[in-house]
Symmetry: C2
Subunit: 209 residues, 2 copies
DNA sequence: TCAGAACCTGAAGGTTTCTTCATATATCAT
DNA sequence: ATGATATATGAAGAAACCTTCAGGTTCTGA
């Protein structure tokens, strides 16, 4: 379980409070610059300036610009995976409807708690979406979902793997659409209601066994 | 209906065959460089080299790098919108199940006909997703979908606008997931079948009137 | 208190990229 | 055939970027 020395991995872990603050500031600044300037202009210089530190300092923690971006994405993913994991545990063994309702609520809450962060990081995920960190996070989420769905009290799904794949996609996609501004005019209640409908409709249309 | 002089719009239209070939070559090269190098390294120099023309030539048709990328995206979107439009017309007035089955098949065929192009352009759409061209294409597709769904012989959906929003999202998302490699192990038939299930499940879970 | 570790700074070298323009060639209409 | 138009070329200036490193400051433990 060692932290492999990849150029995409953080270079040095902060040990004093001072540097912990620095790393936090860099993370916040990364999101802000990403949101205001776009990924192409999210440079080490700009982020450092926004964070109120020198470029040199930034490079002490991230060997390259990419590592800085990847770190921001990873921090976000951990938050979301955690929320999903927790929700899956909470609703384990319940009804399909209870599960979906509860999970959707928890997921959307986590995703929209910091909407700007979520939105900005899509561009980063686009670029680093194929790397191991991302793949691992995806697998972790899929694992939770599979365990939960398999434990449904009222329904026994035949092909869990396929179900989880589509469930996952249909859970993420509406959130993304809303975050990038496609559904902003829709009231939040109606939005959430329809996400539930989409997922539940799919699951119920699935062959049982 | 004039072509506004924006730096993102093509600079000059080709009039001779010679230049038409050039513009085509640039389009193809853009996709290739995008696929092999990523959007950050998809530069005017690289694209021109790949296309077998000089940078100067490229700048004769696109005032900036961004315009070149936007043009590639637009060409793709026109193809897809066209396919959707045609399918919507074909299945107008049919059963909900016929519609969804037919549309999904047509859409996936169009989207996967040139999978590399589709996949590569997600990164571009991420950056230029909010601009007018994109918004217009989205509205056009939504219009077709709305007209088709409203004409369903067997079902009368209460809130078409909401239904179309989610339908649109649930149609695009699985294709995207598969294109970026998330569902590559799933057989094509099963994939398509589940997209239909997702959409049909949603529509049937919708309140009627 | 003091040495060593942790942390910070920012100027500067080396690249890459964007974009233009003066020049040259190809095509078309007459 | 020839002038006008369309198209192509690629060297080069300017700007932005990435990253390092030598030197300075702050903290911590003994």
């Amino acid at each position: 379980m060692s932290t492999a020395a990849s150029p995409l991995r953080p270079r040095k872990q902060p040990v004093q409070d001072r540097s912990r603050l620095t790393v936090d500031a860099i993370h916040v600044a990364t999101i802000q610059v990403l949101a205001r300037e776009g990924i192409a202009r999210c440079t080490t210089t700009r982020v450092a300036e926004r964070a109120g530190v020198s470029v040199g300092t930034l490079y002490q923690y991230y060997a390259q610009r990419e590592a800085m971006l990847a770190a921001a994405l990873e921090r976000h993913m951990k938050r979301i995976s955690g929320a999903v994991e927790e929700a899956c545990a909470t609703w384990h063994g319940k009804t399909l409807e209870e599960m979906v309702t509860g999970l959707v609520h928890a997921f959307l809450a986590a995703k929209f708690e910091n909407a700007e962060e979520s939105r900005s990081l899509y561009a980063v995920a686009e670029t680093y979406g194929g790397n191991q960190q991302m793949e691992q996070a995806r697998l972790r989420i899929r694992g939770c979902l599979a365990a939960m769905l398999a434990s449904a009290r009222d329904v026994r799904i035949a092909d869990i793997d396929t179900a989880v794949s589509f469930f996952h996609i249909a859970l993420m996609a509406p959130a993304r659409a809303r975050l990038v501004g496609e559904l902003k005019e829709m009231p939040e209640t109606m939005f959430e209601e329809n996400v539930v409908r989409l997922l539940l409709g799919y699951l119920r249309a699935l062959p049982q066994d």
